[in-house]
Symmetry: C2
Subunit: 187 residues, 2 copies
Amino acid sequence: MRPAYTDILLVIDMQHDFVADDAPCRVAGAKATIPAIARALDSARSRGWGVVHVIREHHHDGSDAETIRRHLFDDGDGVCVAGTPGAGIVDELHPVASDYVVVKTRFDAFYATRLELLLRSLGAERLYIAGTQYPNCIRATAVGALERDYDVTVLTDCCSAATPEVAESNIYDLRNMGIRCVPFPEL
Amino acid sequence: MRPAYTDILLVIDMQHDFVADDAPCRVAGAKATIPAIARALDSARSRGWGVVHVIREHHHDGSDAETIRRHLFDDGDGVCVAGTPGAGIVDELHPVASDYVVVKTRFDAFYATRLELLLRSLGAERLYIAGTQYPNCIRATAVGALERDYDVTVLTDCCSAATPEVAESNIYDLRNMGIRCVPFPEL
């Protein structure tokens, strides 16, 4: 039997290269959200929601990365190189067999990925967004979902940015668009 | 240094689940094309072309497969389940470090994938198509490339179908669209 999932928890970019203390693209606020995201994953699965992990993966030479990020591959080991530990999802949030994984190479999880097709296959209506980071992948994906007429919630206890001020200014804008921004326990 | 690739060899769906003698979705003509595709890969790499392997991968329950194929997951072990040997590219054509891999869940390699974005990043102008099978993934991808104004060549010694008649009727249509259909040595 295949389940239908009207509610989907999206967990975005919770990979070592964005989360770890010595990560090349560390988002300062990301590590602190791991416990809240782990609780959200448990709750989502027990409610019968679908879980989609959206992750970034790149070729080792950076040729499929944004031009603005290619210096990370020229001057260092790059970021989220497919097959390396840095591209792996952090242990506490590791996918289980029922979860889906969608790979992206830009900010917006809908851009040049299978996400929209997958959500249609699953019968999704409501999306709940967790992960990192607010100004880039969280915002681009939340706006992309809004544009596609999904009911979108950004989980404020499960999302992060480099500073609280950046998080707040993005939440301000997202709320003004009509996107619900609440911590998971308030759902 | 990142290479620019004006010429790209696309190798489509040369995975165990389509090629092996006991494969669930075996294409009868596919196995016989392995030596020609292996030669095309060697030649493409020595000419400095880019190589993109397009492969199919599915969730184990088939929920991200075509509705017309979901019975394969209900009545059997499915096809190209991510992480299983069946989803692996056949040994003779295995990617090398400079190659790219694009994952798809439908026929057309451009649909709900990063292929178009990747080709733009690489500077692609000319696409050469190998793999299986003619009426589905080869044709859909060749037409998708034509629609996007790529110079498209279908490599007739490197593509396959269930029967020679199916191959011929598709080559006939593709040529009438203006798509070059020749064996690799005639390039």
